[in-house]
């Protein structure tokens, strides 16, 4: 599904990712763990199409060159990024935002756009599943939401848009144990043989709830070790500093 | 006025030692002033304060001739106590003394070549008046890397020998790279009903720091106009504090050109007015290059028949991305005859900027007074306490702690 070959990324002459390679097949869950500044967020930014990086190398999504696609086209093709810091957009109602986004993606896929009633039915269903306060759907997007609510809102959007590849950028940071459970339930519900996940995290904790197929350790812009779920436990025990 | 001013000009020229060329130039400025007269409300900048009317009403006919040939006696009792400082003393508009005792003499250059200042963008007829009549212009240069050890206090004094006079004062400062100056303007008048017209020009080179504190606190019946032009190079900082409280009428204008990256300007002011006083502060901050910053905080407390005006403009050139500009003006109206006017203005041509302004005016919060009185204070005490707190945060903005404490004790504000 996603093939990253020798990706290099620089920002203002500073090298952040160095010959980074990764292969994700349909249905797989990959976790990337790394300390602060190892290049985790850069990876999610580049995959979602954020500008401002000098890039070389190759990223293929379903055998298409990702770099030829605009951010929204990547979203249309089924890439979803749960932001580490979800943005506040004043004045924009959460429901309206969700509906606009859902219909933009459905339209691109050649599916029928949902009308207001169909949409509301769907969003209420999903909100209930994720224990997301329905009242918040009528508030301005992320404005005045707590950190946990913002993250839950990201997962709600993910489950509404049913993407093929979901990238969770430190979605677990700042979550209490209940919210963590909600987030991982959301991911596990969406998990099937076709959908893949790339979970970017600092801690092992989230991986107790979402069992990854592969764990990769990212240090200084490079994967230094890959393995199964046991690698995360080893990492947690030793700490990043002593891992080498 | 025209006849009078012409004769006064003749007298002035005769009793001074200007070259023929200078006299010709001065005459040009005189004519320019005569043509325009004192600024009136017809001019946008003078909409809230019609100087022409104010002079007419409070002084009537002005005389423009000042005999500067005779020295005046300096009254040492006016000197600020408890603060070691350098001095420039003006008496009736004449520079009586320049004293930089505390400084390294080779680090400071004092030059008295007369130089006209006419290159300001926002000049008005008062600059022409100043050019025509000012008879000395000292330029003080701080050499590269020199921080003045002690503050400089400029004493603006008058004695009862003069009345209905126009005084034109002028100073220039150049702060070379990485130099710094703390400057206090202290206004102390014995004379009444004069119009004082002051122009300062500051040229701040890279990394230079200017702190200017203008203290007009002693009640006096004079009309005062003061214009600061501040040019700022890379990384330079200017801080201006204005206490506007003593004169009958006062207008302070600050024009600041932020020409070097990472330069910043801070302007803080207090109006504390009563009894027919009418004061204005007008600021123009020109952000002309990337990454510059300005901050302004002006607060008024307005008693009976008093009026304060704040006109503040932030201009952001299209080159000046990442500008950070802020201004806030607040006023408390204590009496039904008090009046607050504001024109906070933004003119912005760059998109990646953070600029905002706010203004709030109204009466003292009755709920707060009630709260304090319920704790046993009387009305007057409650009021004073609230006003004190209201003004305190402006004084707290003063970055020099020695001068901050001095001003606190002068104003009678406590923590």
């Amino acid at each position: 599904m996603l093939k990253i070959n020798n990706l290099n990324a620089n920002i203002e002459d500073k090298s952040i990712l160095k010959d980074f390679s990764l292969n994700i097949n349909p249905g797989e869950v990959h976790a990337i763990m790394g300390p602060n500044g190892s290049g985790k967020s850069t990876l999610s930014n580049i995959l979602s199409g954020k500008k401002g990086y000098e890039i070389s190398g190759e990223v293929l999504f379903e055998n298409k060159n990702l770099f030829e696609l605009e951010t929204e086209e990547r979203a249309h093709k089924g890439i979803f990024l749960a932001f580490q810091y979800p943005l506040e957009i004043p004045g924009v109602n959460t429901n309206i935002f969700l509906k606009t986004s859902l219909n933009a993606i459905r339209k691109a896929k050649g599916e029928k756009e949902l009308d207001a009633i169909e949409f509301l039915k769907l969003v209420k269903e999903k909100a209930k599943e994720l224990k997301f306060d329905e009242e918040k759907l009528n508030r301005q997007l992320n404005v005045g939401f707590s950190g946990g609510e913002k993250k839950k809102n990201e997962i709600l959007q993910m489950s509404m848009l049913s993407p093929k590849l979901s990238i969770l950028d430190e979605t677990d940071s700042g979550l209490d144990i209940d919210a963590l459970k909600v987030v991982s339930d959301g991911v596990n519900t969406l998990r099937n043989k076709d959908n893949s996940f790339l979970i970017i995290t600092h801690y092992q904790r989230l991986l107790d709830y979402i069992k990854p197929d592969f764990v990769h350790v990212l240090m200084n812009g490079k994967i230094i070790k890959s393995g199964g779920p046991e690698l995360a436990l080893e990492l947690e025990k030793k700490g990043y500093e002593n891992f080498n | 006025m025209t006849e009078k001013i012409k004769t006064d000009f003749e007298k002035t020229v005769k009793t001074s030692a200007f070259s023929e060329k200078d006299v010709a130039l001065k005459e040009k400025y005189l004519n320019r002033f005569i043509e325009n007269g004192f600024p009136s409300r017809k001019l946008e900048n003078w909409k809230f304060s019609d100087l022409n009317q104010i002079i007419k009403k409070n002084i009537g006919e002005l005389s423009f001739y000042n005999n500067d040939s005779l020295p005046n006696k300096v009254d040492t009792s006016i000197f600020v106590e408890g603060l070691e400082h350098n001095k420039i003393i003006f008496i009736n508009g004449r520079v009586e003394k320049i004293d930089f005792t505390y400084e390294d003499q080779d680090k400071i250059k004092i030059n008295d070549d007369f130089k006209f200042m006419d290159e300001f963008k926002n000049s008005n007829s008062l600059l022409s008046l100043n050019n025509a009549f000012a008879n000395k212009c000292y330029k003080i240069t701080l050499k590269k890397g020199y921080s003045m050890k002690k503050p400089l206090v400029i004493y603006h004094t008058t004695n009862e020998k003069i009345k209905s006079r126009n005084l034109n004062l002028r100073l220039e400062f150049e702060l070379e790279q990485n130099s710094s100056l703390r400057l206090i303007d202290l206004f102390k008048d014995e004379a009444e009903n004069n119009f004082v017209n002051i122009f300062y020009n500051f040229d701040l080179k890279e990394d230079a720091i200017l702190k200017n504190y203008k203290i007009d606190k002693v009640i006096n019946q004079n009309i005062r106009y003061s214009y600061n032009n501040i040019e700022q190079g890379k990384n330079s900082v200017s801080e201006t504090f204005i206490l506007s409280s003593g004169s009958n009428f006062s207008k302070n204008e600050i024009n600041c050109n932020l020409k070097g990256e990472y330069s910043s300007a801070f302007i803080n002011g207090i109006f504390s007015l009563n009894n027919e006083q009418h004061h204005e502060v007008r600021t123009i901050i020109n952000h002309l290059i990337e990454n510059t910053k300005s901050f302004q905080l002006i607060k008024s407390v307005l008693g009976k028949n008093s009026k304060s005006v704040y006109q503040g403009k932030i201009f952001v050139d299209s080159k000046a991305q990442k500008t950070d500009g802020y201004q806030l003006s607040k006023a408390i109206l204590l009496d039904e005859t008090s009046e607050f006017n504001a024109k906070p203005e933004l003119e912005i041509y760059a998109d990646d900027v953070k600029c905002s302004h706010g203004s709030a005016s109204g009466s003292l919060d009755e709920n707060s007074i009630f709260y304090l009185m319920s704790r046993g204070l009387n009305y007057q005490q409650s009021k004073e306490l609230l006003i004190n707190g209201y003004l305190l945060d402006v004084v707290e903005k003063i970055t020099d702690s020695e001068i901050k404490n001095l001003i606190k004790s002068m104003v009678g504000i406590s923590e």
């Binding site: 979602s48 199409g49 500008k51 401002g52 605009e70 951010t71 929204e72 990547r74 979203a75 979803f80 932001f83 943005l87 957009i89 004043p90 004045g91 924009v92 935002f97 606009t100 986004s101 859902l102 933009a104 993606i105 301005q140 959007q157 848009l161 | 946008e44 299209s318 991305q321 006023a331 109206l333 204590l334 009496d335 039904e336 005859t337 008090s338 009046e339 607050f340 006017n341 504001a342 024109k343 906070p344 203005e345 933004l346 003119e347 912005i348 041509y349 760059a350 998109d351 990646d352 900027v353 953070k354 600029c355 905002s356 302004h357 706010g358 203004s359 709030a360 005016s361 109204g362 009466s363």
Partner: protein, 480 residues
């Protein structure tokens, strides 16, 4: 021969030589007493009306065109304009939509304007009786039942002379500024509304359905009177861009609210802004003023200004009655080479008067936007308050945004609070929206609509939906 024809016949021998072609009645070029008499005459106005016009004209001689505003425009030769011209004959008009600028048609499509409406807006000769006229007639019957008068200004001058005479020029006097006074001298037509005591107008009154739309021309005059305890909501303009060959528009709108009455006046102005290079476009110099004459009265202005090459207007409220309320909600968008200098004046005269100003300005391209406003609380306006918020959004660094508020507080029991900010759409917000599948223009539209939300909420439902679309469309091509 009816009287009108006779009038024209009489005028034929005038020294300036008036055209007698009934199909194309036109006063000669220029502005003078004879032209004004001609206009008044042809409209069969009573003498007091002619006097009103002549008085204004006399006053105009001593007035100079103001020049303090930010947008400058080439000098207008007032002697080179026609001040009265009957509707053009069918042959002069475009025959079909195919003759119009394809860009304009594209915009119509995006806004979802029906074909017939598109035709009407462009003055295309069509045979079919189109919906709006018949709808208007149906409406009129219902309004008459309640005693509401809603008709053209010309008709009102004829049929409701007393009302017009009593109120016309009481808010915008003949002694006002240059453009207002010019309008008083030469206005051609406009709308007149009177809501009787205690009546709540059952529908939004709208110029959208106005019978006389094609004749109002460049000097429009509108007068709305809400009698004691009445309520009316009035909508002006429409979201479709209107082409007009008159470059100068100097309309006057006067609102009068008596005791306990409320007037809500909403405008969507989307006149031709000129092309991408700033060629052509309307000069929209409008004077709009409301008088809260009675106690507890309320006047609320809402405007969405996206059109015209130059917009220069300040819908204002004079809060004379005690406890009266004035409101101003504004969205102004300029793109390409457009210029707008707009805002409001809130003059507090009565006790306990309140006003609120919410202004959202968006500038893109090479355009220039100024908010200019005055809040003046007079010494007698005890316990009054104003709240002002003006926010500007810039898109790119070739445009300008300016905020020029004048604040005068002369009453110590009164509060004025003013806030203003300037910002841009952040890259991060755009990226977030795009990651959710929106293209850059949709993303900008969404964010800008969020920015304008407080004002859009003030618009009547059907207007609000169109206005939202318009906000997006006006900014097209401004995202890099």
């Amino acid at each position: 021969m009816d009287t009108r024809e006779k009038d024209i016949e009489n005028l034929k021998d005038y020294k300036y030589g008036f055209s007698t072609d009934i199909e194309n009645i036109r006063a000669p070029k220029g502005l003078n007493e004879d032209v004004i008499k001609f206009i008044s005459n042809i409209k069969k106005e009573p003498k007091w009306m002619l006097d009103f016009r002549l008085k204004s004209f006399k006053r105009l001689q001593n007035l100079k065109e103001p020049d303090w505003q930010k947008p400058k425009y080439p000098k207008i030769d007032y002697q080179d304009l026609y001040y009265y011209s009957a509707p053009k004959s069918m042959s002069d008009k475009p025959k079909s939509l195919d003759e119009l600028d394809p860009k304009l048609l594209e915009t119509y499509k995006k806004l979802g304007i029906p074909l017939q409406e598109q035709a009407r807006l462009n003055g295309i000769a069509i045979d079919a009786v189109f919906d709006s006229v018949s709808v208007a007639t149906t409406f009129k019957d219902e309004l008459t039942k309640q005693g509401i008068i809603f008709c053209s200004m010309s008709e009102a001058i004829q049929k409701h002379s007393d009302l017009v005479k009593k109120y016309l020029g009481t808010v915008i006097p003949t002694t006002d500024h240059f453009f207002a006074t010019l309008n008083s001298a030469v206005f051609t037509d406009g709308s007149f509304v009177y809501i009787p005591e205690g009546v709540r107008c059952p529908m939004e009154l709208s110029t959208y359905f106005r019978i006389n739309a094609s004749q109002t021309g460049q000097f429009e005059r509108t007068l709305i009177i809400a009698d004691k305890g009445s309520y009316v909501s009035y909508l002006e303009g429409c979201t479709a861009p209107m082409r007009d060959e008159n470059q100068l528009h100097a309309a006057n709108v006067e609102l009068i609210a008596l005791d306990d009455a409320e007037i809500k006046y909403s405008t969507v102005q989307n006149w031709y802004p000129g092309d991408e290079n700033g060629k052509g476009g309307i000069y929209n110099f409008v004077t709009k003023r409301g008088l809260c004459k009675g106690r507890n009265s309320k006047i609320s202005w809402t405007q969405v200004e996206t059109g015209s090459a130059i917009t220069w207007k300040y819908p204002s409220c004079i809060l004379k009655g005690d406890n009266s309320i004035g409101e101003f909600y504004s969205i102004a968008i300029t793109n390409n080479h457009q210029k707008a200098d707009t805002g409001t004046k809130m003059i507090h005269l009565g006790k306990n008067t309140k006003s609120k100003i919410i202004s959202k300005g968006i500038s893109a391209g090479f355009s220039d936007m100024t908010y200019r406003g005055l809040v003046d609380i007079n010494p007698k306006a005890k316990n009054s308050s104003n709240y002002t918020q003006c926010d500007s959004l810039l898109m790119g660094n070739k445009c300008g945004a300016h905020t020029v508020p004048y604040i005068k507080n002369k009453n110590f029991n009164s509060n004025i609070a003013h806030e203003a900010t300037t910002s841009k759409i952040s890259e991060e917000q755009l990226h977030y929206c795009q990651q959710r599948g929106l293209n850059p223009e949709e993303a900008v539209g969404l964010i800008v609509n969020g920015f304008c939300k407080e004002v859009l909420q003030q618009l009547p439902m059907e207007f609000a939906v169109e206005a939202q679309k318009l906000v997006g469309i006006s900014l097209e091509g401004s995202v890099g």
